[in-house]
């Protein structure tokens, strides 16, 4: 076990820190919540800056435009990124963390040559078209149909929970191409161009009053056969490449961000009145709770470091991915919950910037134990795939 960074890692850190210290303030504050076109511009401009400075796709192979950096420097990047409070990956998430890596693993040379540079430069935004109204946890039961006509697939159906689809150019789309095959064997993975007739995006108003997620209605949308990733009816295997990625390293940035959320909570507690009229931070129960949360976040980061190191050697994401996701999502909710409690009634009245943020963060945090595999599904996965329990 070696937890020290090499001189080369430290040089990388110093250069990155200097760059972030200059560029993050220059990039300014994000646009107001709800202004999605402005958010897209804010996020893709930032991605372009990362790319031009050599900080895009650190974990992607160099042959595909990434940097192919050693895992130690990927960790340094995440640490410094969080420390600098740099912009959240946001609209670039699906492209950088799902679709891009899937194309690296399974795409054709033409698909990679066209899409990967555009993702890395912030020129294209991707969304995910996996879930459907009747295919949630049981994703493989999806029903959106694609029928081959000449050199095209004609796609009809309905997708849901497509994050930021209203500002996306492409969709990683799962469709059914064989209705007679067993459900896992009739699925195909397609690249859908969102800018066409036959694609209608309807944002959904969620519990926090925002519109992060969309329904996507497909009515004879067209996908060239050359946009198929993997073989026809082999999409479930291709999907699992993506899903395993999601459960492996994709949460690393979120986890390290929890550190700053705890610090924000402590800052609130130091400047807010508590039950006895003194500072809320004087309350030993609160300090016990914060200590436990901080220990949990530290350990989760260590577990991520372990998992990434294992993945580096074996080439496959670590078995502990579901465990990381489970604990991460619950810790995020606990931190948001405790912050709301610490602020007290002003948080319920939207009184002040901090209160508004705390209420919004709390409501948003409720999706963590649902999205990307509910906590109940994750527990089944851990029990079945890691501990060898029989499928019920």
């Amino acid at each position: 076990v070696n937890l020290t960074y090499s001189d080369a890692d430290e040089r990388f850190r110093a250069a990155l820190r200097a760059w972030l210290e200059a560029e993050v303030p220059r990039h300014g504050a994000p646009p107001p919540a709800g202004d999605w076109p402005a958010r897209r511009a804010y996020d893709t401009d930032w991605q372009r800056k990362l790319h031009d400075a050599g900080y895009a796709g650190l974990h992607w192979p160099a042959a595909y435009g990434g940097r192919g950096l050693p895992v130690s420097q990927q960790l340094v990047y995440l640490e410094e990124y969080a420390r600098a409070n740099a912009p959240y990956i946001s609209v670039n998430f699906v492209g950088m963390m799902h679709a891009g890596p899937t194309l690296v693993a399974e795409g054709t040379d033409e698909q990679r040559a066209f899409h990967l540079p555009r993702i890395l430069r912030g020129e294209s935004v991707w969304c995910q078209g996996f879930s459907e109204p009747s295919a949630g946890s049981d994703l493989a039961s999806l029903r959106t149909r694609a029928v081959r006509r000449g050199d095209e697939y004609v796609v009809t159906g309905e997708k849901i929970w497509s994050t930021r689809a209203h500002v996306a150019d492409y969709c990683e789309l799962l469709v059914r191409t064989d209705r007679d095959a067993p459900k896992h064997r009739g699925i195909t993975w397609l690249i859908l161009d969102m800018h066409q007739r036959g694609v209608e995006v309807r944002p959904m108003k969620t519990i926090d009053g925002e519109h992060h997620f969309c329904e996507v209605f497909l009515d004879e949308a067209r996908v060239p056969v050359s946009n198929r990733v993997g073989e026809e009816n082999d999409g479930w295997r291709v999907t699992n490449v993506t899903l395993r990625f999601e459960r492996g390293t994709a949460f690393a940035q979120h986890i390290i961000t929890l550190r700053s959320q705890i610090r924000a909570l402590v800052a609130v507690a130091m400047s807010t009145a508590g039950r006895d009229g003194g500072r809320a931070w004087n309350d030993v129960a609160l300090r016990l709770h914060v200590g436990r949360l901080q220990a949990g976040v530290d350990a989760l980061w260590r577990m991520t470091q372990r998992g990434i190191a294992e993945a580096e050697r074996s080439g496959v994401p670590p078995a502990s991915g579901s465990a990381v996701k489970l604990r991460y999502s619950e810790l995020a909710q606990e931190i948001a919950d405790l912050t709301l409690r610490t602020i007290g009634r002003p948080a319920l009245a939207g009184a002040g910037e901090v209160a508004v943020c705390a209420a919004r963060d709390y409501l948003w945090s409720l999706q963590y134990t649902i999205a990307a595999g509910t906590s109940q599904i994750q527990r089944n996965l851990v029990a079945e795939r890691v501990l060898g329990m029989p499928r019920g």
Binding site: G291, R292, Q294, A299, R302, A323, V382, G388, R391
Partner: protein, 325 residues
Amino acid sequence: MDFRLDDEQRALRDAAHALAARHFDLATVGGREGAPVAAAAWRAVADLGLFSLLAAGEPGGAVEATVVLEQLGAQLASGPLRWTSLAVMFGPEAGAVRVTGVDADDAHRPYVIEHGAESDSLLVLRADGVERCPVDALASSTEGAPLDPLTPVTVVDDLPRGEPVGRAGDARRLRLAGAILAAAELVGVAQGALDTAAAYALEREQFGVPIGSFQAVKHLLADMYVRVELARSATYAAAAIFDDARAGDVATATSAAKLLAGEAGIANGRSAVQVLGGMGFTWAMLPHYFLKRSWILDAAFGTGDTHALAVSAALEHDMTNALPT
């Protein structure tokens, strides 16, 4: 930066696993109740090198000691393993004798000394230093009725003054190492409880199927896995930072590890009782041993609450001293 055990550490882990399975067989654990550790088992642990890993002046060793104690913890090993491993920080003769110890700063009275009757020597950990004395210097000690049948205890009202062997800095270092080693044992205990519960869930049938096929049981087991993996990550990290201070803040890393390992041990022991159901409530099955050992270890070198407050104090200190950005 490579958060994996290296080849030598993996080999040591495998050797410790084989040793623990042979000398501390869980199938006959009842035979070890209230008894001192068997001479052959003690010799085997000494031969493996555990008692010299933390020798003063030698680099590293905490990760290796962690790996070994984790395996011994999973088999509920007997004897004053932790304090004897720590004693070498104060002299090379350790291992030849069995050493136990006590934290004189503990606010609770009377003092409870683990494995006192079978030990030769006693380390007394004080705020301003470390002392050593023969165990028979203890006045008017009584044998306690231990919660953990595998950890005999001696109860005393007063501690003797011993020969000084370390100063305040040594005491701090001992406290850190002790917390890391207790965390390591707890990780092993938490893993042992999970292994016991998982094996039972596969074998025990109700309604015509193994109970491990029920989601309610699966979710208990999954939570046990999450707890032990988190605690293991935190404990290895604390040990690595103890060995090489450039890797981080050893005090905070140690507190996080001890806190999470204590929670993992107690909660996994408790869950193992539940998964085994009525049988889990009997003395004949293993869960109660894991649960009871966890309580002993959680109380050693700072409880979860003590360490949680230390972590939040460090966070506060860090924030109030940070330059405005």
